[in-house]
C-alpha cells in the first residue's frame, strides 16, 4: 500500500531495514522475552499473580496518580511553554534550561530531594502538615513526584508547536470580531491539541513506569501507597521472576492500549483540523 507511494525516495530499502532491525533489537526482543518468561506460568498462576488484591490496588494507584500528574502537566506545561515562546522576559533562557532538569537528574535523586522537601519537617511539608495535608508518604506525594518527572515532556513538545502557530490566523480571527477567549478556544487551542495530546501521552506513559523518584516519597504501604513497579521489584527480590513478569505484562498491555487510544484520538483530532503534529 503506502510502500509504493514512498518508494521513489532514495534509500528506502535500507532505512526500512534499519528501522525494523533497530526496533526489533531495542523494543521487540526485550518485550518478547518478557512475555515469553511470563508464559512459564500456567493461566491460573498468571491470573493469581496479576490480580491479587495488593496488585490490583497498585494498578489503581499507578493509573490514577499518573493520570492526575499528566493532566496537571498538560495544563501547567501548556502555560509554561506558552510563556517561554510568546514572551521575552529576563532570565527566559535560564527558565528554559530549568525545564530539562527533571530529565537529567537521576530519578533516585529527585525522589530523595522531593521526600526531603515534602516530609513533615521539610521546607514545604512543614507548612502543609498543620493544614492536615500529608504530602510525603501518601498518594499525593506520588503524584507530586510524577508531575516533576513528566513536566519536560509537555513543555518540550508544546514549544515548537506554539512557535509554528501563524500569527496571521490570530489576526484574522481578531479582524473577524473574535474576542481573546474565542480566538484561543476556537483557533489556537484546536491547532495545538494534537501536540498537547502527544505531550500528555508521553508524560502519562513515563509516569506509569516510573520507579526511582516515587519509591522514596511513596511510603510503600501495601494496599495504600504501593505502585506497580515497586511490586514488580518486590517480586524479583523474592526470586519470583515469573510472578514479576506477569504483573509487568499486564502493565505493558494496559500502557500499550492507552497509548494506542491516545494516538487514534490524536489522528482523529488532527484530521479534523487538517494537520497532524
Amino acid at each position: 500500500m503506502s510502500f509504493r507511494r514512498y518508494s521513489i525516495l532514495p534509500g528506502f530499502g535500507i532505512t526500512l531495514g534499519y528501522t525494523v532491525f533497530y526496533l526489533s533489537l531495542v523494543v521487540i526482543i526485550p518485550l518478547g522475552a518478557l512475555i515469553l518468561k511470563s508464559t512459564s506460568l500456567s493461566w491460573d498462576q498468571f491470573l493469581a499473580a496479576a490480580t491479587a488484591p495488593r496488585v490490583v490496588a497498585s494498578y489503581r494507584l499507578t493509573l490514577l496518580s499518573s493520570l492526575a500528574a499528566a493532566l496537571v502537566n498538560a495544563f501547567f506545561g501548556f502555560i509554561v511553554a506558552w510563556s517561554l515562546v510568546r514572551y521575552d522576559f529576563p532570565g527566559r533562557r535560564i527558565v528554559d534550561a530549568l525545564v530539562d532538569l527533571p530529565f537529567a537528574l537521576p530519578t533516585a535523586v529527585s525522589g530523595i530531594v522531593l521526600s526531603t522537601i515534602y516530609a513533615k519537617n521539610g521546607w514545604i511539608g512543614q507548612f502543609l502538615e498543620p493544614l492536615g495535608i500529608r504530602a510525603a508518604y501518601s498518594p499525593l506525594g506520588i503524584t507530586i513526584a510524577l508531575i516533576f518527572i513528566g513536566l519536560p515532556f509537555v513543555v518540550r513538545i508544546m514549544q515548537p508547536a506554539i512557535e509554528e502557530l501563524d500569527p496571521e490566523m490570530e489576526e484574522a480571527a481578531g479582524s473577524l470580531g473574535a474576542n481573546g477567549w474565542q480566538t484561543f478556544s476556537r483557533v489556537i487551542f484546536p491547532s495545538l491539541l494534537p501536540a498537547l495530546t502527544t505531550g500528555f501521552a508521553l508524560a502519562f506513559a513515563r509516569a506509569l513506569g516510573e520507579y526511582g523518584s516515587v519509591i522514596f516519597i511513596a511510603g510503600n504501604m501495601p494496599m495504600k501507597t504501593e505502585i506497580t513497579s515497586l511490586l514488580i521489584v518486590t517480586k524479583l527480590e523474592q526470586y519470583d521472576y515469573a510472578g514479576a513478569t506477569a504483573i509487568a505484562v499486564v502493565m505493558l498491555a494496559a500502557s500499550f492500549l492507552l497509548l494506542l487510544g491516545i494516538n487514534l484520538f490524536q489522528r482523529h483530532s488532527g484530521a479534523r483540523f487538517g494537520r497532524t503534529a
Binding site: 491479587a52 488484591p53 495488593r54 537521576p106 533516585a108 535523586v109 530523595i112 521526600s115 526531603t116 516530609a119 513533615k120 519537617n121 521539610g122 510525603a136 508518604y137 519509591i215 522514596f216 511510603g219 510503600n220 504501604m221 501495601p222 494496599m223 515497586l230 521489584v233 518486590t234 524479583l236 527480590e237 523474592q238 526470586y239 519470583d240 510472578g243
Partner: protein
C-alpha cells in the same frame, strides 16, 4: 543507599568483566582480586577487614591482594549474584539469601552452611530500638511499641534482610511471652505493623526515614546500624534502647564455589573467610559492633555489648526455610496483616 550501590554495582560489573578477561588465572601482575558481595551496613566493617587481610595475605604468601566490595540490600545482592554478578565470596544478612543462590543458580552446594563453624556465621548481631533523644515516648521493650499512637519505623521484610530480623524479633518476643501461642504472636506482630507508617525497601532507607525525615517514634534497627546512626546523626538527636529480649541475628558468609573454581581464587577466598574467625577478624567485628563469636574478642577491642536474652531463628521459627514459608512467602502471615478486611 540505593543510588550509591547501583552505580557501584554497574562499575563493578564492568570491572568484573574486564578483570575476568585480564587475569582469568586470578593471579596476574596486579595480584589476586577477590570480590566480596555483601549487604548494606557492612560497608565500613569490610573496609577494615579488607585492609588487614591484604597485609596478612601478603605476609603469608608474598602476593598482593585486593578485595573489591559491593553493597546493597541483601536480597538484591543475592539476586545480582544469581543473575551473574561475579562474587568470590558472599557475606549476606541471612542464610535464606545464600540458600537462594545455591538453589536457583547452583553456584555452591546446598550444604554450604556446614562448611564453616557457627553455621557459617563468624559474627552475630541483634535488633535494638533507636528512639528520639530523651526517649519522649518512654519505650523500654517490645510491649511498648504496640501501644496506640506509637509510630514504628522498619523496612519491608519482603525486600529487606534486616527487616526480616526485625519481624522475627517481634514474633519471637510474643511467642516467648505467650508460651508459644502462635495466635497471640500473630496478633502481636499485626499490631506492630499497624503502627508502621512507612515501609522502605531496605534497612538503610528506613534509618534515613527515621533519622533524617524525622518520621516515627522508634526505629527497629540492627545493633551495629544503630551505633552507626548515632555517630552519623549525633547522640544529641537519638538514643539507643536495648530491649531485654531480642533475636540472635546470624549474618552468613560463604565461598561461591563455581566462581572461585573458574577464577582460581579458592585459596584466597577461603583464607579470607577464615580470617573473619581469627583473633584479628573477631576484634574488628567487635569494633564495628558486630558481636564476635570468640570469647574475649570484644574485651580486647575495648567494646562491651549489653546483655540481651537472645533467641535464634531455629528456636522461634524452625529455621529460615520454614520462617520464609510461614511468614514472608506470598500469601503468608506478613501479607495477611495487610489483607483488606471483607
Amino acid at each position: 543507599m540505593g543510588l550509591r550501590s547501583i552505580s557501584r554495582r554497574q562499575l563493578f560489573t564492568v570491572a568484573a568483566t574486564a578483570a575476568g578477561v585480564a587475569c582469568s588465572s586470578g593471579d596476574g601482575n596486579g595480584g589476586t582480586i577477590l570480590r566480596n558481595v555483601s549487604y548494606d551496613p557492612t560497608r565500613e566493617f569490610y573496609q577494615d577487614i579488607n585492609a588487614r587481610f591484604a597485609e596478612v595475605w601478603k605476609a603469608k604468601s608474598g602476593a598482593a591482594l585486593t578485595v573489591e566490595q559491593s553493597h546493597g540490600g541483601s536480597g538484591k545482592q543475592a539476586r545480582a549474584v544469581i543473575d551473574g554478578l561475579e562474587a568470590d565470596v558472599v557475606t549476606l544478612a541471612l542464610a535464606y539469601d545464600i540458600d537462594a543462590i545455591a538453589e536457583k543458580a547452583h553456584l555452591l552446594p546446598a550444604t554450604w552452611q556446614t562448611r564453616l563453624p557457627n553455621n557459617s556465621s563468624p559474627y552475630t548481631s541483634t535488633i535494638v530500638f533507636l528512639v528520639r533523644k530523651g526517649n519522649p515516648k518512654g519505650i523500654r521493650g517490645w510491649d511498648d511499641i504496640v501501644k496506640p499512637g506509637i509510630a514504628v519505623v522498619t523496612a519491608n521484610p519482603k525486600t529487606s534482610g534486616g527487616a526480616r530480623w526485625n519481624y522475627l524479633a517481634a514474633w519471637g518476643f510474643a511467642l516467648k511471652q505467650n508460651n508459644g501461642d502462635q495466635g497471640k504472636a500473630r496478633e502481636f506482630v499485626s499490631t506492630v505493623y499497624k503502627n508502621v507508617p512507612v515501609l522502605d525497601s531496605g534497612a538503610r532507607g528506613s534509618t534515613t526515614t527515621f533519622a533524617q525525615r524525622g518520621l516515627g517514634d522508634v526505629l527497629l534497627s540492627w545493633e551495629n546500624e544503630a551505633y552507626m546512626a548515632l555517630k552519623e546523626f549525633g547522640a544529641d538527636q537519638l538514643e539507643i534502647v536495648v530491649p531485654q529480649q531480642s533475636v540472635l541475628a546470624e549474618p552468613v558468609v560463604a565461598v561461591v564455589d563455581a566462581l572461585v573454581e573458574r577464577r582460581g581464587t579458592r585459596n584466597a577466598a577461603e583464607a579470607y573467610l577464615q580470617f573473619l574467625y581469627a583473633d584479628a577478624g573477631q576484634e574488628i567485628a567487635a569494633k564495628h559492633r558486630y558481636r564476635p563469636r570468640q570469647d574475649g574478642a570484644a574485651a580486647r577491642a575495648g567494646v562491651t555489648f549489653p546483655k540481651i536474652e537472645l533467641y535464634s531463628v531455629d528456636e522461634i521459627a524452625g529455621g529460615w526455610k520454614s520462617a520464609h514459608a510461614a511468614h514472608f512467602a506470598d500469601g503468608a502471615l506478613f501479607d495477611e496483616i495487610y489483607k483488606p478486611v471483607g
